[in-house]
Symmetry: C2
Subunit: 674 residues, 2 copies
């Protein structure tokens, strides 16, 4: 069997081998595996390999980067308190090449196993049972414990590992495990020490409205009496599903236009890239080329944070880092045919570790398919009447994550014009708490009787590691400025000036649509033969609201990345996470983009990384309930003088034979019906 490509994810065999190597180093201890996944090669090593690959000079004897496994695990000591450790092992040489005992000031990302512990500890705990009993809710409700990361620590020097549980009641009378329990929120939050497997305390939640106190009051016996059902599974909808939506099929009779080979290699319409998957970032795109020319080294969703704005403690601790805390790969959905996309679909599996650390398949975590995206380009010559119109076909690499109540759909979209969109769709169920009957709140919107959906933000960071015709790149800020009318340079007042400023040192920058500010990532050493400009791609940063939390707050301190739209840093191996390596319970961002910028590296004509941050201030609507319609945001990467013409000019004009015209007679008044 041919050796795996350096970017192919670890196989089950490799995973198990890595496990054995780790166990051999800890033969006197109990090991609880969290994750085992590919440790990507250093850039220096991988670039050498990729150069051979692209030049066709790769041979079985060519040097290959070692296959490395990153192993994350707890070592359970005699006091039963785990020590979190990380190792890198070389699969080929069967050697451990790196070993780190992580300091108690940091916490590992959560695992779903911990969720199970949290639920079972709560359900068995007498204090918790007592707190529930005091709410005096009818017997037909079953208690649901929704595990959440603890958020930012309120106190310093705290090293215990906490989780919090949001508590809901599920109406068992309709005998359906998918009945929507979020419609019945209960006003308490048990806080667990997950290592000790015990509840430390139970926070009582305020349920008041405008002008009520920030702190909780004692609740009466009617905490759920004003709450009503709000179902989303079709069999529980009182009115059933709508009947007038007719089938729409996407058929590709000749198969897809893409080709997948060598496990991770995708080729489509002059694009060529590799796809990998890891527990933290989910799908990652590597080594992106168009028509043989390098565009990007690595594209990833780096981090996101979701801070809640309810001023009443302990809601300041509702702040998830979905990638650093939860792990987007960890929480990825197993995608289904005909549901998550249409047409001809290629699914990619991942390998994850089972409870005992052994590898197993996590099926269908990524889907790959083509989409029609409407008109690509069109021109009609009005003299001859001839219209030439092409349709835009895009290739979509998609993965979807569920974090408790909420979901995100992430997609990398490649188009035929050399453009790349990185898209997120926010959907799922908005996080909510109980509110007294008849009250409204400054902290959110009442979306169902007794249900307050709290105001919050979602702030995303995409990491763009460009390789525009090579790895020596520069970011140029380009703005369009008004120029006062003057006889010399602007006699009629219609001129505006385009100003370009290279980013010399690592820095942050914000979107400024008033100046049409765009960030061009260029290779200053290679000029476009037509325009004379440096070849490049531009990033159009979405002008969205940034983090609103007070800069001195824990929410803000631990999410420095969320405070500017664009960060430009110099490449450094393993510097992948905008919010830092460890986010669970963090009080501040460590080794995230802010620290990377603070190094003050030169970023001119060197290996730069661009981080694109955008957000969504989500003050919920009633229409976001019970499951919210997708809210879509995109970051656009577009070639700017990278090519010598529109790269899609050779797309064949569209004349789709399968389309059907509704007869004109169908809309005569007399007929009325189709």
């Amino acid at each position: 069997m041919a050796p795996s490509h350096p970017l192919s994810i670890l196989s089950i065999e490799e995973t198990n081998l890595a496990r054995e190597i780790v166990l051999a180093h800890h033969d006197k201890e109990v090991i609880d595996f969290r994750e085992i996944f590919l440790q990507e090669p250093t850039k220096a090593e991988l670039v050498k390999y990729l150069q051979l690959e692209h030049s066709g000079r790769l041979s079985p004897t060519s040097p290959r980067p070692a296959r490395l496994a990153k192993c994350q695990y707890d070592v359970i000591g005699s006091d039963r308190i785990p020590s979190y450790q990380e190792s890198v092992v070389d699969i080929g040489s069967k050697k451990r090449t790196k070993h780190e005992v992580i300091g108690k000031e940091h916490q590992a990302a959560l695992t779903l196993k911990e969720f199970e512990v949290l639920v079972s500890v709560c359900k068995a705990d007498p204090k918790f049972k007592q707190a529930i009993a005091e709410l005096n809710i009818p017997d037909y409700y079953e208690i649901v414990v929704e595990p959440w990361p603890y958020g930012g620590l309120d106190e310093e020097d705290e090293s215990r590992r906490y989780f919090q549980g949001l508590i809901f009641a599920q109406d068992t009378r309709n005998n359906n495990a998918d009945s929507n329990f979020y419609a019945f929120p209960l006003p308490l939050i048990p806080v667990l020490d997950i290592h000790k497997k015990e509840i430390c305390r139970i926070d009582k939640l305020a349920t008041g409205g405008k002008n009520d106190a920030l702190t909780a009051k004692t609740h009466g016996e009617k905490i759920l009496e004003h709450c009503t059902t709000a179902e989303y599974v079709p069999e529980l909808l009182p009115q059933g599903v709508r009947q007038d939506l007719k089938t729409l099929n996407v058929l590709q009779p000749d198969g897809p236009s893409f080709k997948v080979s060598d496990e991770s290699l995708v080729e489509w319409q002059k694009w060529r890239f590799r796809v990998s998957f890891n527990p933290r970032e989910g799908a990652v795109i590597h080594d992106v080329h168009y028509d043989g020319r390098s565009v990007a080294y690595r594209l990833s969703v780096s981090e996101m944070t979701v801070p809640y704005a309810d001023a009443r403690p302990p809601f300041q601790r509702k702040q998830a880092f979905d990638f650093g805390d939860g792990g987007a790969g960890n929480c990825a959905n197993n995608l289904s045919l005909g549901c998550d996309c249409l047409g001809v679909i290629k699914y990619f599996d991942a390998v994850i570790v089972d409870d005992d650390g052994k590898g197993k398949v996590h099926p269908n975590v990524i889907c790959l398919h083509e989409q029609d995206e409407g008109i690509g380009w069109k021109h009609t010559n009005w003299r001859t009447g001839r219209a030439v119109v092409t349709r835009s076909r895009v290739l979509v690499v998609q993965f979807i994550i569920t974090l408790a109540n909420y979901e995100y759909v992430f997609a990398y979209k490649f188009d035929q014009s050399g453009g790349i969109d990185i898209e997120t769709r926010a959907t799922g169920i908005v996080s909510c708490v109980n509110i007294d009957p008849g009250k409204t709140s400054n902290y959110g919107n009442v979306v169902n009787p007794g249900v307050l959906a709290q105001n919050h933000q979602h702030i995303f960071a995409f990491r763009i590691d460009p390789a525009i015709d090579g790895h020596s790149n520069t970011v140029i800020t380009e703005e369009s400025h008004a120029v006062p009318m003057n006889p010399k340079t602007n006699p009629r007042g219609n001129y505006y000036e385009v100003r370009k400023t290279p980013v010399e040192k690592a820095t942050w920058a914000d979107a400024e649509p008033r100046l049409n500010r765009v960030f061009k990532i260029v290779n200053e050493n290679i000029k476009n033969p037509i325009s004379g400009n440096s070849v490049g791609y531009k990033l159009v940063p979405p002008a969205t609201q940034l983090l609103l939390a007070d800069p001195a707050s824990v929410q803000a301190q631990r999410a420095q990345f969320a405070q500017h739209h664009v960060w430009v840093t110099k490449y450094k191996d393993d510097e992948l996470f905008a919010g830092g390596r460890f986010t669970m319970q963090s009080r501040k961002e460590v080794d995230g983009v802010a620290d990377a910028v603070a190094r003050g590296d030169n970023t001119r004509d060197t290996d730069v990384v661009v981080w694109s941050v955008f957000g969504l201030t989500h003050n919920p609507r009633v229409e976001d309930w019970p499951v919210m319609p997708c809210e879509i945001h995109q970051v656009h990467l577009r070639p700017t003088d990278f090519f010598t013409a529109n790269p899609s000019i050779d797309v064949p004009p569209s004349s789709n034979k399968a389309s059907v015209e509704v007869p004109k007679s169908c809309c005569q008044p007399a007929q009325g019906k189709l």
Copy 2:
């Protein structure tokens, strides 16, 4: 035959009858018809009729608004100088109800007939022939005259009707009438008096680069020698079209989910609205309801302006108003099956007037079809593993216009969640001029040898005439503000404040993404029963750069509307055009949104109109050549507490049977091929 709905476009018969009525009033004069189209009823009259219609109380004896025709025509006087006049005639009573002789300070919109005059006058003119001869270009080039509106007048008190011609050369050697002549720009612009049918002067264009003078120099003999072909029709592409794009069909085996009846009535997925079409605005959407509730009275694309930023006179006069000058309906493409959309498509025809003023069909000017837009909403219950996922189906009303070199695709998109997007795609060929060999310019980008694509902006105005549960509406500005940490209201610093401010008087406002500023159009008299908020829809104005021209420039004076993102005005019959009724050759905007705001009307709890303005600063890329890939912009209208839940919650979960999985084995290294 049942009488036409008051919003149905004029039939050919009605058009011809209107023509006869006008001719009868001008029986001693020569009449040159420009347009005849439906004069929509006053709102007071139409609302009365629509109320009857929606309540099911409409009968054959119900009062109906008169069928009115707006007739635009030149009356040719004895001096052969036309007088532009407009009449409104009542088709039913065969009476002229309004007649206006338009003052010489205003100019009618252009007609395509005038383009033909311009081309033939130029081609016959000895001065023009001489100017071309002086350029001394090879014989195999044929001269192409590209008619353009004249732009803003440089001088006051000028009442002649001008056109300008941009001049290109078409290489006849490849014997193809669609060979791209824009690759061979010639540096002169003939200016015509279109009434007198004569060239007034020929402006010589500068072809220099950076640091060269603003004024034209004498050109040598090599004006085209450095220019090269840049074809887009497939048979002329040197490399041919790409061969690896496989067929993608959209099939709707059970037909479309929409129903079209009564000529203009569209019903689809709880939406109900009417579509009309007129020469100026193209497709217009009327009387929009969702599930029986009123959302909007009228949606339209009101105006756009495209000012060019080349400081060298006479380029300040390159400023098109594509709706006011050209007429979007006038310039609408005849859409083709399988080219402009996929699936099952309903086309709507328009009626236009022929050279003699008689009505004729302008076929397929609007298309209506459904699209799949990816995941609509999704939630996975991680406890049970059950995912409920719906797909988002949207209904698209699309029209496409060609103005000389450039095209715009406009679409109104209705989704199942109660959302409406108004979309524009900019495509076509960028406007360009000749530039000397080897030079670059501050005024644009060299996109082909010898071809300078000039920097410009496109600024669009959409007109939203809302009817949120009736016609008494209010616009509320909503912003999210950071709040400094303080013990009383924000103890942990995570709180942010949502501030709402009603717009009391007609005004403009700008997008402010730093504050997440949205504009809610609400009915203050009707509260959402769940949240207690006023029912409404929100407009999220795209934060884009506004007009850059100096405020004192003619470009800016005639495009006041392009200087703010949102305008809120009180409804007034016939006040439809953001840039004013007459834009051709205008030196300032008259009776546009700025004047409407200046009335200072009360806009609280009354019949308001919201105008959404956004732009695209287009500093061309080489990739925009020879035909640019669509650049897409959307304005979103979203229900906010209008409904009592997500309106798409009853969309059946997707389990599309026609989708196909690529076998997993396809991507084993050994196989390599699909």
